[in-house]
């Protein structure tokens, strides 16, 4: 279970961290005024400062027990968290598998896994859908629009 407050804090820390990174990086480019006009780091530096200050405000707002936060103490229930993970974790594995297996094989495996493993569909139907997905991708991208999707290291090893 994740409380609204924890989520607010995590997001504020995330945005604030990004802001700090932007500030630090833009210092390398130089800030302020030089012979060539406004230095290239100035604008990012200012946005970075705004992000940091805004995030600090949101952080404090998130910590205080304000009325608006009071009616939603719980942001994500355990069931919801499981559903989100059920969608996101396979998707992340799918993306991680692309360099090795290639887009077609990875997407077919992905469709098969999310449909057959939690038993949403029978194995033959899941297989059929997986094959149809890969085939549709191939026809639309490689054939119709001439966009080459990654074939993966495995396919390269076999000489494709």
């Amino acid at each position: 279970m994740i409380s609204r407050r924890a989520l607010e804090l995590a997001t504020a820390v995330l945005t604030g961290g990004f802001g700090v990174a932007v500030v630090v990086q833009s210092l390398d480019n130089g800030i302020g005024w030089s012979s060539a006009g406004v230095d290239s780091g100035t604008f990012p530096f200012l946005t970075g400062i705004i992000i940091v200050v805004g995030s600090l405000y949101n952080l404090v707002r998130g910590m205080l027990p304000v009325a608006t936060l009071a009616h939603v103490p719980i942001a994500i229930t355990p069931i919801e968290l499981r559903r989100i993970a059920g969608l996101f974790v396979p998707a992340a594995i799918f993306v991680a598998a692309i360099p090795l297996a290639g887009m077609y094989v990875a997407s077919a495996l992905y469709v098969f896994a999310v449909l057959a493993i939690p038993r949403h569909q029978s194995v033959p139907r899941a297989l059929a859908m997986a094959a149809a997905t890969a085939l549709a991708l191939y026809v639309v991208f490689e054939r119709m629009f001439q966009v080459s999707l990654p074939h993966g290291a495995l396919a390269a090893a076999f000489g494709y």
């Binding site: 609204r4 989520l7 607010e8 997001t11 995330l14 945005t15 990004f18 802001g19 990174a21 932007v22 990086q25 833009s26 480019n29 005024w33 060539a36 006009g37 406004v38 230095d39 290239s40 780091g41 604008f43 990012p44 946005t47 970075g48 705004i50 992000i51 805004g54 405000y57 949101n58 707002r61 942001a75 994500i76 919801e80 559903r83 989100i84 059920g86 969608l87 996101f88 998707a91 799918f94 993306v95 692309i98 887009m103 997407s107 992905y110 469709v111 999310v114 449909l115 939690p118 949403h120 569909q121 859908m129 997905t133 991708l137 991208f141 629009f145 966009v147 080459s148 999707l149 990654p150």
Partner: protein, 516 residues
């Protein structure tokens, strides 16, 4: 009436067989992404974007804009029949549309929605026809300082009128600016903010961000609540369609008021979502039957729908004439314009007459095509909603992954897209608005260039932003909008807190939920 002559010329471009076919394809794809939860107009349009690179700009923009109209209509279909808004901007349509459909009048609800939506769109297009070239002419005289002032006004109006928490809007905007700055600086040529990743030199493409923020982010929000599509009958009774449309003129005040609200919110970048909520709220306050709102009132459907479409259409006005998109989807289209080699802004009306007037003419025709197609295909798309979400979700993930990859054939983009997905989910969950973020990514570079050029002209003095009447007005209006939330809060503190009814709080949270 110079404009009418140009418009007629535009019709000769828009009404050709290939372009009509593109309109049909665009509208159908648009309805599809509008109906499917987790796919919306912004990422639908950005998915299609890489496929338009080989096309003529006119054909490409007709395809993309028709997809936008289709998505606006498709979102209303699911709102009314399933009580599931397919688009954030059609949430307000569920308040009265679904009760009416549930009471056995789905055709009336749909026809009323489409009729008033078409009216809203028509008002928006007429406004563009007569105002856009005039605005562009004024804008031709703009220097960098004026441009920066207009950008500033656009961003300030998100903070002042967007409806989200002001500081969260500011943070979202600033993050967008920072992301826009990643890569090679257009003025000095130096590399910025790559965080040590060499591949980031090419910058972060806005399509990748939209795919993650709107696609994956929305999918994660949608999967959280397991919804069941319990549809009311989706049969269309054609005689009732004409009767419902025939009854619309009786509500002409509501229609005109909502269209005006929509146009205003579309031109000043408040966006369709804010427009539909504002229009619904105002209609409830002023309608004689305001007490019955929420139980299937006709005006409760007319108001959000008219404003939604008027805002969606008129969002293209500032995009065409100033180069400032009025909504997230318009921002994506503007990114497309730049990719096709066009420079959005007043020069379009001088250099690219065929493009501009072809697009405007296609907006008239495209909306007619959209109304006809959406009525014809309601049963088909309603059937689509019965496909279980567990099957649709992985397909949408694959579409987003392939879409992000095909932007520039880069695996890093796919990984970033997933990252943006998490950010999109967190932001949606905590009511950070997403539209300003996307807008800032698309036009952040231009705003920065305008700022630096004006600084060069004035040798570093901020006085250039108060040098003449026009630019002073723009800057002052922007500052006023920035301070508006603060003033309202102070006023609220000094007044006694009014007792709020349950109804208004539920509506307020519903509104908060969809601020993008």
């Amino acid at each position: 009436m110079d404009n009418l002559g140009e418009l007629l010329h535009g019709f000769t471009i828009a009404v050709t067989l290939p372009h009509l076919a593109l309109m049909v394809v665009g509208v159908l794809l648009g309805i599809l992404v509008g109906v499917l939860p987790g796919l919306g107009a912004p990422n639908g349009v950005s998915l299609l974007l890489p496929l338009t690179f080989g096309m003529q700009p006119v054909s490409a923009i007709i395809l993309l804009s028709c997809m936008y109209w289709g998505a606006l209509f498709g979102g209303s279909v699911t709102s009314i029949l399933f009580n599931i808004p397919g688009e954030p901007s059609s949430v307000a349509t569920t308040f009265d549309g679904y009760p009416m459909a549930r009471d056995g009048r789905p055709t009336t609800a749909l026809a009323t929605a489409f009729g008033s939506a078409a009216f809203g769109a028509l008002v928006g297009v007429i406004l563009i026809t007569f105002l856009a070239s005039w605005v562009a002419q004024v804008a031709l005289a703009f220097g960098p300082a004026e441009y920066f002032a207009v950008y500033f006004l656009a961003f300030a109006s998100f903070v002042g009128m967007g409806g989200g928490a002001p500081i969260k809007t500011v943070v979202a905007l600033a993050i967008g600016f920072a992301i826009a700055a990643i890569g090679i600086d257009t003025v000095s040529g130096s590399v910025r903010l790559t965080m040590g990743v060499d591949e980031l030199v090419k910058g972060v493409n806005f399509v990748v961000a939209v795919m993650g923020l709107f696609g994956i982010g929305e999918l994660l929000v949608a999967v959280e609540e397991e919804f069941h599509a319990r549809a009311v009958s989706s049969k269309i009774d054609w005689r009732e369609v004409f009767r419902a449309v025939g009854r619309l003129p009786r509500h002409s005040i509501a229609l005109l008021r909502s269209a005006a609200i929509g146009c205003w919110m579309g031109i000043t970048p408040g966006g369709p979502t804010a427009a539909s909520f504002m229009s619904y709220g105002i209609a409830r306050r002023f309608s004689r039957r305001g007490r019955y709102f929420g139980t299937g009132e006709v005006e409760g459907i007319i108001s959000p729908e008219t404003a939604d479409h008027a805002a969606g259409t008129s969002a293209l006005l500032p995009m065409l004439s100033l180069g400032i998109p009025g909504s997230a989807t318009a921002a994506v289209m503007m990114g497309g314009l730049m990719i096709w080699g066009l420079n959005p802004g007043p020069m379009l009306f001088v250099d690219q007459k065929d493009f501009v007037w072809g697009l405007i003419a296609s907006m008239y025709v495209g909306n007619i095509v959209a109304v006809a197609l959406v009525l014809l295909t309601v049963p088909v798309f309603a059937a689509l909603m019965r496909i279980p979400f567990v099957i649709i979700a992985p397909l949408i993930v694959i579409i987003c992954v392939v879409g992000a990859y095909s932007v520039s054939n880069s695996y890093l983009d796919v990984v970033m897209m997933l990252g943006f997905g998490i950010v999109g989910y967190l932001f949606k969950k905590l009511f950070y608005p997403l539209a300003p973020l996307v807008l800032a990514i698309v036009i952040g570079d231009k705003a920065e260039d305008a700022f630096r050029q004006s600084m060069l002209m004035s040798r570093g003095s901020l006085g250039i932003f108060f040098a003449n009447k026009l630019v002073t007005c723009l800057v002052v209006a922007g500052i006023a909008l920035l301070l508006l939330p603060l003033v309202l809060q102070l006023a609220h503190l000094f007044r006694k807190p009014a007792p709020s009814t349950d109804e208004t709080t539920t509506q307020a949270t519903a509104r908060q939920k969809v601020t993008i």
